[in-house]
């Protein structure tokens, strides 16, 4: 992936249309920022001139204290102007950078919401997070500090140089400034080297973390093979490498500041020698001389900033590529062009000759699937792990797309049903019971978002989790997940069921959703489903026969194919796969009851 980005790096930061639109949107902010910045820069250069001239006056001993007081008033008013100006440009330039950062982050998230499950399989949350934080920060650096430095360098540099050349002496300026140019060059070169070494250091550090992580995860192997001492030796090699990479980085980091000091000192030495000489030669006054020395120190910053600006723009451009790679990712699953003009969706489902392979894979996950269920019926699906049960239901939800004319809901081709309508009418309880770290209340109300407490409680009661919830100290306000209460698998499953039930959807899909619930509770949930879901369609995937034995229709999947189908009774009589699963589970139950 790095290669791909590198080869495209030629497009500059400011050439991106995406960025240009933002610059256009915020052009007045930037303009005001630039104006206040230039005002500040000009005001700042006045200070040494004023101080210089007053020193000349004092030196000649030919002055009144009224002159001094007027100078002081001048200085104070300038400093007030600078005060206001500085706040203004920070607000207009840095503040705008932050606003754009927010806009871009929103754009990225909005786009991510449209991405298919395939995208999230290929891109880990870690990578996406890095794009939305680190890379976005690099882009923000250009839009805030980058632009500021650029203008500051131009404005401050020009003004200062102008004052030095016109008001003092062109040759002296040349003598003083030439060494300073070395700063810009060295910041650029050292900055690049610094980044390279920093990356190496980070890699060594990541390597160390990975090592510790792995060894601690495999601690049992280490202990059982008595490898402790050897592992410590291996750890030491890692620590040593981190140490070396760190020192390598430190060597250049510690060089930067002293080196810049050195160059500006060198410039100052030249100014003293040559400046003193022309003062004696009376080409400039003593006041000019002291002012020049001040100017010189004012030029150090623009020089540093020049190097920094180049670095900021360079890494900003690379990061922008990555940010745009998310924004330009095509939307795979979307409404079709010949969308059906419907606003309700009833729950009859028909699947015809459905074959399915996951994108970019060879393995046929579903083979020639055919079945039909009417509105109001319950379909049970059973089969081994990996037989294709979950794939089948995620296809109904259009998490992945099927071929045309294979799946029909309410008589409409699945692909022609408006995506929002489809998903609003399906209640889905996924296998992994993913809950968000929010309150239980909000988790149940996730798809409805009306905050109607009575509905929430009703759903919780139907999924037999209400009693558990009110046992928590904070009841429905209990926060789940890492920062709150850690729920048991069964509790999670039941909250997840409540989350689907509260939608009162036309189609309810339970994907192995009561596996961690004891049989009594399971029975209760199934009883509630039976009562509440009259006239609505249910699809229940299960491992336990007891979960699905009352379904109107049961299909048995094996290796992507429907191997048996019928009612519980019919299937038990067939003495096939279903029967053998049934027998096993009966025995298991007997064993449970032992003791």
């Amino acid at each position: 992936m790095n290669n791909k980005i590198k080869s495209k790096k030629t497009t500059g930061f400011m050439k991106s249309n995406y960025i240009r639109a933002f610059l256009k949107k915020y052009k007045f902010n930037y303009l005001l920022g630039v104006i206040s910045l230039i005002v500040v820069d000009i005001a700042q250069t006045r200070v040494p001139i004023i101080v210089g001239s007053v020193i000349d006056q004092i030196e000649s001993k030919n002055f009144h204290m009224t002159l001094i007081s007027s100078v002081i008033i001048k200085l104070v008013s300038i400093s007030i102007a600078i005060y206001i100006g500085r706040i203004a440009w920070r607000f207009f330039i840095f503040g705008t950078g932050r606003s754009i950062e927010k806009d871009i982050r929103n754009d990225m998230f909005l786009h991510l919401e449209k991405m298919s499950s395939r995208y999230f399989q290929d891109n880990t949350p870690g990578e996406i997070m890095a794009y939305m934080t680190n890379d976005l920060e690099a882009v923000r650096m250009v839009l805030g500090p980058g632009i500021l430095f650029l203008i500051d360098v131009l404005a401050m540099g020009t003004i200062t140089l102008y004052s030095m050349i016109v008001q003092i002496d062109p040759l002296l300026t040349l003598a003083g400034v030439v060494p300073l140019l070395l700063i810009a060059v060295s910041v650029r070169i050292m900055g690049r080297e610094n980044r390279k070494r920093f990356r190496n250091k980070q890699e060594a550090f990541a390597e160390l973390s990975k090592f510790v992580q792995e060894q601690l995860t495999g601690i049992k192997v280490i202990k059982s093979f008595v490898q402790e001492e050897k592992t410590i030796d291996a750890f030491e090699r890692n620590v040593k490498r981190t140490y070396e990479k760190n020192m390598h980085l430190i060597k250049i980091q510690s060089l930067m500041h002293p080196f810049m000091q050195f160059i500006s000192g060198l410039a100052l030495a030249v100014a003293i020698g040559y400046g003193g000489y022309i003062t004696i030669k009376q080409r400039i006054t003593l006041g000019d001389f002291t002012a020049f020395i001040q100017y010189l120190s004012m030029l150090v910053w623009p020089m540093v900033a020049t190097g920094m600006t180049i670095n900021i723009f360079a890494s900003g451009a690379a990061s922008l590529e990555r940010v745009e790679s998310i924004l330009n990712e095509p939307v795979e699953i979307k409404d079709s062009e010949n969308l059906s003009n419907i606003d309700t969706l009833l729950g009859s489902i028909e699947v015809k000759n459905l074959n399915y392979k996951y994108p970019n894979t060879e393995n046929q996950v579903l083979k020639n699937i055919n079945f039909k269920i009417e509105k109001g019926q319950t379909l049970g699906i059973i089969g081994r792990t990996g037989s294709g049960k979950t794939t089948l239901v995620t296809l109904l939800l259009r998490l992945f797309d099927v071929d045309k004319n294979t799946v029909f809901i309410n008589g409409e081709d699945l692909l022609n049903i408006p995506l929002k309508l489809l998903r609003e009418n399906i209640g889905y309880v996924p296998q992994d019971n993913f809950l968000f770290s929010d309150t239980i209340k909000n988790n149940i109300d996730f798809g409805v978002r009306k905050g109607e407490m009575d509905k929430i409680i009703e759903a919780a009661k139907d999924s037999v989790v209400h009693e558990n919830i009110i046992d928590f100290k904070d009841g429905y306000e209990t926060v789940v997940g890492e920062r709150g209460v850690v729920l048991s698998g069964g509790q999670k499953q039941r909250i997840s069921i409540a989350r689907a039930l509260i939608k009162n959807p036309e189609i309810l899909i339970l994907d192995d959703s009561v596996s961690a619930v004891d049989t009594d509770t399971e029975e209760k949930i199934l009883k509630h489903l039976n009562e509440k879901r009259k006239g609505k369609t249910n699809i229940i995937i299960a491992h336990r026969i007891s979960t699905i034995q009352n379904s109107d229709k049961i299909i048995v999947l094996d290796d992507g194919k429907i191997v048996e189908s019928g009612t519980h009774k019919e299937l038990v009589h067939k003495k096939g796969l279903y029967h053998s699963i049934y027998e096993k589970q009966l025995l298991e139950k007997m064993l449970e009851e032992q003791k």
Binding site: I55, P125, F205, T217, K223, G265
Partner: protein, 602 residues
Amino acid sequence: MIKKNFKNNKKYGNTSYIRLLNYAKPHTMKFIFAILIILFIVVIELYQPVLIGDVVDKFLVHYGIAESNIDTNLNNSNIIGVVKIALVYFASVVAIFLLSYAQAIILSRTGQKIIYNIRMELFNHLIKLPINFFTNNPIGKLVTRVTNDTEALNEMYTSVIVNILKSIFVLLGIVITMITYNFKLSLLTFTVIPFIVIFTFTFEKISKKIHRQIRNKISSINAFISEHVSGMRIVQVFAVEKEIFDKFDNENENLRKEHMKQLFTFSIYNPTNFVLNITAVSILIWFGSKMVLEGTITVGTIVIFQRYISKFFEPIQELAEQLNIVQSAMAASERIFGILDEEPEIKEDSNSIELKSFKGKIEFKNVWFSYKENEWILKDVSFKVNPGENVAFVGATGAGKTTIQNLICRYYDIQKGEILIDDINIKDISLTSLRKNIGQMLQDVFLFSGNVKSNIRLLNENITDEEIIESSKYVNADNFISKLSEVYDTHVIENGAAFSAGQRQLISFARTLVFKPDILILDEATANIDTETEVLIQDALKKLMKGRTTLIVAHRLSTVQNSDKIIVMHKGEIREEGNHQELLSQKGIYYKLYKLQYEQAL
């Protein structure tokens, strides 16, 4: 339970400082050396404005206003004087450059070495902690202790100790030099210092607070992204993209606001410093010019003072920053010391016995064990295994089979009863010789990143390649390894994700065999393994178990049937014991289990 473990970090208070300083002790000379260099730098830096003042006062003062005719001789000697000063100034610049670089390197190297030692000590300690420490504490957090927290101490040694001293020197240096020039004018300019101090420290405090809030907001936005990217399927399935986006927008806006707060704070900071600077300069000019009129000072003094004024700010800022670093280093060090103070639960007897080998007799005598108080996992378990016998443990999950294996290797100490190997209580055998002579194979084979070879010999370099290949051949692992692209050097990624469960099993067999254990303990994998590999595994197992005392948690019928003895566990107790035929005829639990799990396979 997790929380409890980390709350243990009591309040260390001042002892943390002392412990941290103790790590610096061996390097005292280097610190002293660095401080001396810094003193030297400070003196030179303070001398630099004097040089400029001298240029003005000694050589240029007469050229203030371009009118006087000064004779050429004087001009020439003045020029020589100016050039001399320029050269001296240049020399001072070079000296500062070299000295500050040397100083930085000396300190950094020392700091890094200290970190190196702390890391070693920490890992050394960590790896010796008992297994349950790792089950109770998230690995991620422990990794952070070894990596990030130690890194946070770095600045403590490389910058704090020295810079605090430096800043004080600089401040004192400036004050003293100014006073020697002119006492009255110095006192007048010093009136701004208290304001600088108050302002800087308040600013540091506020900005630290805002910084912390920003970190919080960023981590909450990161958590939001990470969570919703992982759960994007749910968001889409429930068609709440709009609502979730609004929430994200809200988080995002919160972060922006916090950034704006920071921005505002910073935008006040620099200009305020500038105003304070101008105030001091105004005071200087007002009173200075009066004094020049009175003839008590020269213009040069004003020029010098003006330069010193701008130097007040840096050391004061520096001090405020250093104090901040100290605070965060303290927090990190307390977390580190929390681990270092964790006691290894399993203690070895000082006169424990070293054994070269075992005959292989194992006996449990009325063993009671629980991980948590009063939740007995094993209840009064007794059994005896003779040297060379193969014993299979069967029973439902949670029956206590795996626990028995863990106890033999002494990952936990039992509460009641005795475990004997070759009639010696395992508490009297050194941990090293106990574990070295027992080969344990876990159900989930853990593979380290590296290559196939390194996963078999682990870190024992004295195991030769020939031995590795020989063992692999013996346990049928060579078959598939020899087909890999780089044979035994084939890269293994983290946790060996590229290998099938069966292949991992075979690698673990080779690993165990190459260490030549006298007793074998293994937990048969339940994972789906293709028939071809399955045959290889069965064959390898048979070879491995031959002539060795073997305790196996069995899931396969063939393994169970071929054992000398079968022990049926149920809810922490031994319920049935005997060989296959005996147990079947009892028609008890074994009989049912047998029907349940194995009948299908027949």
